[in-house]
Amino acid sequence: MTDAAGGEERALAAGERDEDRTLEDMLLERTPARILVGAAGASYRTTTQLELRRDHAAARDAVRREIDLLADLGADTVERWKLFLVTTACRDKDEYLLRPDLGRRLSDDARARVAATCPRGADLQVVIGDGLSVAAVATQAAGLLEPLAAAAADRGWSFGQTFAVRYCRVGVMNDVGALLEPRVLVLLIGERPGLRTAQSLSAYLAYRPRPGHTDAERNLVCNIHAGGVHAGDAVARVVALAERMRAARTSGVAVKEELAPPPPALRG
């Protein structure tokens, strides 16, 4: 018995203990955080230690995965949105990890293809980037396209030709902005894998992005995944931000999201 768990069991009356065990089970469902795990001295239980190693191994493997449009987004989605894949100036994953400057720049081939394929000046232009997790793109991106396009149509906004970027950094938004001059650009990009999930996607938004823009001119809806911000909420927030940007004719720190605090779901 560990001193942490042992101490507390001695302190609780038997009936109280059962009640609190149930309470703890319910509480654990409430959060993905690794709470109430007990201890061995000041260290982890062996189960905890091995779980952490297992999850880190999975995250490391996710970082190395390469994007494949058909395999990751599915033939239907690729066909429906006429998706195509271009690459930044990075030659491979290692260069991508070490050279953010190259990951912010479309390759010459990419530039030519995007310019030839995508209409300029769209009200809403969506770009998909692998970022640091192809798993995030594979699980989240396809489901966001349809509602984003529908929301644009409802508002009478033109919806640009979506495409995907391999070895993509957020700063590629400036390059795309200069090339296609969209009113609002949305970049759906795989977030760095955490231990709990490698499926978390971010939506970065910018109003008329152009070279020289920084994160101060961008807005962000992050943590889009099954255990975080759900797709429907993410789309609603992206569209609301786009509306605010259009009204303010700017984006970034000057445009604040207005939302009610997340409702505390009552259970039990």
Partner: protein, 470 residues
């Protein structure tokens, strides 16, 4: 003015101080990315030789970023205490290193106000890892807000109870888990997933209810943009600490959407708010985070190396008399700090420079999943920094931040390192722990905490409800 050094028959020339500083840096992928790193190991050491002979007067006289175009440079010039500096002006960087290492009495060897960020960076570049630990150890920086941090024998821990959707009950559950491990004396600080004013306000109000209901002698914080926190304050949210990420150039701060004037004004507003609220034992109300590479990441580095720019970020921080400052050393990624070796080095440098400049320095000992490091890297740096007398570390449930998606240090790590080094929490917080029997004086978890544990866990649900009463 050019600098030169002769090494094994080869002569190296450096165009200016900026180049000497950059090339004298230990290897960092970020300096290489910026195209300013030494081209060979020999050139690196030649730059160190050249730097060792530079006088502190020359460093002060040669700003690495032109003050005319940079408010951080102007701040550094304006806040430098010339009287305090006078006795040291003629020292070389090599002599300053020895002076700092010879000093074996408690307290600082050189008054912090005599040191500029560039001097701190220069001397760090001549130090071994052991030097950085030894020269930091005796320097205590004591700060006060709702408790007293940084005294000899004290190691603070920030509870970092982040949640991917800012779920208030989940945030409280992680907080309670941390409190039961004796963590949370430095701050209970949430990185919000959303920058919404309502959501940030709700987090602040909820943490405030917990602290008030259980009379916990600590401070709370929601690490949103400074303007978001102030907007939440306008709507009635309680603010103990005003947080902001800061960097070492005006342009890098602009990429964070912040200016020195905004920080000045924000601090005044929070001080005013505290005077109306009460319950504070000191007037240190600011919390800053920094990290090597942030200026380069924003393309705002002016050709200056990331270590020197990090020191300049501390120059920004100290102008606002902060309660807490920490480098988030392994967060930025492999393009700036490539692997465990670079992260460990940067962590030791950051802590040393912060202490030398008079800051209550903590470190978020951490790594991301795309860098060549693992939890063992964190264990190593944590122990080194505890030996160096670091003011505080992070406490994250099992070190896994489920919102930011990186790994830091855990509640377990905090307990282990306090036991290993015989350290205790902030005195007011320790008394609170003792009253509730949570952690006994010897750092072992006490059996009497059971009832409180159940009570706190139930309270997490109740206190998360909107409009809940404390």
């Amino acid at each position: 003015m050019p600098y030169a050094a002769q090494l094994r028959g080869e002569r190296f020339v450096f165009a200016d101080l900026r180049e000497v500083l950059a090339k004298a840096n230990e290897e960092k992928s970020g300096d290489r990315l910026a195209g300013i790193a030494a081209r060979s190991e020999t050139e690196r050491v030649a730059a160190k030789h050249a730097l060792a002979d530079v006088t502190l007067r020359e460093i002060v006289a040669s700003p690495v970023v032109d003050p005319d175009g940079d408010e951080v440079s102007r701040l550094i010039v304006e806040t430098h205490d010339h009287e305090a500096f006078r006795p040291y002006a003629g020292l070389t960087v090599g002599e300053l290193r020895e002076l700092l290492l010879r000093h074996d009495a408690p307290g600082e060897a050189v008054a912090a106000r005599a040191i500029t960020p560039e001097i701190a960076a220069a001397v760090a570049k001549l130090m071994s890892n052991m030097d950085l630990v030894v020269a930091s150890r005796g320097v205590r920086r004591v700060t006060r807000c709702r408790n007293t941090l940084g005294e000899e024998g004290v190691l603070g821990i920030r509870v970092q109870p982040n949640h991917p959707a800012d779920d208030l009950e989940a945030i409280l559950l992680s907080t309670v888990d941390g409190l039961l491990f004796g963590c949370g004396d430095a701050v209970i600080g949430v990185n919000p997933a959303s920058e919404s004013v309502d959501s940030v306000g709700a987090i602040l109000a909820t943490l405030g209810r917990l602290v008030e209901r259980y009379a916990i002698p600590t401070q709370t914080c929601c690490l949103a943009h400074v303007s978001t926190q102030l907007a939440a304050l306008e709507r009635g949210a309680p603010i103990d600490l005003l947080f902001q990420s800061v960097a070492g150039t005006e342009a890098a701060n602009a990429s964070f959407g912040v200016t020195l004037a905004m920080l000045r004004e924000g601090r005044e507003r929070v001080l005013e708010h505290h005077r109306a609220r009460g319950g504070f034992v000191g007037e240190q109300v600011m919390y800053f985070e920094t990290g090597q590479g942030s200026a380069l990441s924003a393309d705002a580095h002016h050709g200056v190396d990331q270590l020197t720019l990090e020191a300049r970020a501390y120059g920004v921080a100290r102008a606002f008399d902060p309660l807490l400052v920490n480098s988030v050393v392994g967060f930025i990624g492999p393009e700036y700090l490539y692997d465990e070796r670079q992260i460990v080095r940067a962590g030791l440098e950051d802590h040393f420079m912060g202490k030398l400049l008079g800051l209550p320095m903590g470190v978020d000992v951490c790594y991301t999943n795309h860098v060549a490091a693992d939890q063992g890297s964190c264990d190593n740096l944590l122990v080194l920094l505890a030996a160096a007398g670091c003011n505080y570390f992070m406490g994250v449930p099992c070190a896994d931040d489920v919102m930011l998606g990186y790994q830091s240090t855990s509640f377990h790590d905090a307990l282990a390192v306090r036991r290993l080094f015989g350290l205790r929490p902030a005195p007011e917080f320790q008394r609170w722990l003792d009253e509730h029997g949570i952690v006994a004086a010897d750092g072992r978890l006490s059996g009497r905490s059971g009832a409180l544990r159940a009570d706190l866990l139930r309270a997490a649900r109740r206190l998360a409800l909107p409009g809940a009463l404390a």
